[in-house]
Assembly symmetry: C2
Homo-oligomer: 239 residues x 2
DNA sequence: GGTAATATCGAACGGTGTTCGATAAATCGC
DNA sequence: GCGATTTATCGAACACCGTTCGATATTACC
């Protein structure tokens, strides 16, 4: 099991046939993986690209992770350390407000890193920060007048809503926006025009909300939806 | 633009050097893609595997779709035709109950096809059934005393919750369960034991709900969460 | 200093998505 | 019916991927 911090790999050895080997650590592997994910998303994190960043060969990565799936899970989990730090002091106010604060902090982390939604809190058995964040969210429900069953369901609902909504928003970025060919406003204007062009008899709801759609922000939409869910939880707790 | 139904490809031509070519249609490409997804998930749908099923070469797929991403989007959308059929008659009862019915129908479709959650309702601009399902959900909110802004947010919240929760449940199947090495009960028992082994002082919520966790079903959890959200919407509408 | 354990590595394997130029098949116009 | 055009299919090739294996470099231990 690796346990020492690697020193930076030298580029190619000097004279002679031997070439100095790179030296890694679990932390540096995960940190570099996160950097690649931030730059190019999940598709950009390949074992070969990561190895090149670390200055070594692709096979060395397999000393630290069993495969690319585990690498992604651990990279996502490592980023949640920042979310946990940000919400460490939360938990003394109104429990519903505290749930909102934690939910929004997690959502913001996923908006900052669109790839995160697909991997955060996926497997709390192998993702320690995910487990702690799940516990942190759940603890707020302990301060509500709910049964254990209701607390379990409320916690899962908040997690499901936050992760699901943020992941959906995170990956909905179409290729023309991701590549810079079109900015978000242009894209939204085009999508709005497509909605306006739909048959009004067939799509009454879409015509009813198209002005909202034209000016909505993802964050506003997320907050409004989270508040609906939290209102339902507060109602159930009779608070 | 393809517009004719292909006939079945003959296996290798008889004597002579010419080989009869396969013949496809957009419908057969999507139908066969769905079959492969059902059998082996998104990872099992490769362009080569699909071409082999259709009895042709991989390059022919590119006549019908621009790439594998579009293939997945269209395959997912095509499956939503069945969901739309199932909810066609919904819309005459209590709007909140009708939202529940539609949400549960969509959830069940995703439970039946775990790969669906990651691709359903991703891009209503290129997925006609997704657009219609979004419209169907939104139309229920027209029968509630809500502003256009509130209706837009309520609809997005329901969609986000259903898709996000179902997608999370759909892909959470760990390799040992997917591969048959362990059934769901064994896996749940092991996960429960891991939860029970956690330090009680550090994870008070998890110890509080571990018995719920041990006996929960995904569907029950989903319904409970959806009801919390719907309760919030009903409260907002003052109904 | 020799042995054992840990960590790194290049090469190879088996696979993928996608494109290109060729060509088979269908359609159209005369 | 035939030649031209259009549509659809194809094999090969390209560039890349995840993963494993046996070799070996490096570190730790006695």
């Amino acid at each position: 099991m690796p346990m020492r911090e690697g020193r930076a790999a030298s580029p190619g050895a000097g004279g002679g046939r031997a070439r100095t080997r790179a030296s890694h650590s679990r932390e540096s592997v995960l940190a570099e993986a996160v950097r690649l994910l931030d730059e190019a998303g999940a598709a950009g994190l390949t074992i070969r690209a990561l190895a090149a960043r670390l200055g070594g060969g692709p096979a060395s990565i397999y000393w630290y992770v069993s495969g690319r799936d585990e690498l992604l899970d651990l990279a996502a989990d490592s980023v949640l350390a920042g979310v946990l730090d940000a919400v460490r002091a939360v938990g003394e106010g109104d429990p519903i407000d505290d749930l909102r604060t934690i939910g929004e902090t997690l959502f913001d982390a996923i908006v900052d890193r669109p790839w995160l939604g697909a991997y955060a809190l996926r497997d709390t058995g192998t993702q320690p920060h995910s487990l702690r964040l799940y516990e942190k969210i759940g603890e707020q429900t302990l301060r509500l007048a709910l049964t254990p069953t209701q607390r379990f369901h409320a916690t899962s609902a908040v997690v499901g809503f936050v992760i699901g909504t943020a992941a959906d928003m995170g990956q909905e970025l179409p290729e023309v926006v991701a590549s810079g060919q079109m900015d978000r406003e242009e894209y939204l204007a085009q999508a709005t025009a497509e909605w306006r062009a739909l048959d009004e008899g067939e799509f009454p709801f879409i015509h009813h909300v198209v002005d909202e759609f034209a000016r909505h922000t993802d964050r506003g939409q997320f907050r409004a939806g989270l508040d609906l869910l939290l209102a339902g939880i507060r109602l159930q707790a009779g608070a």
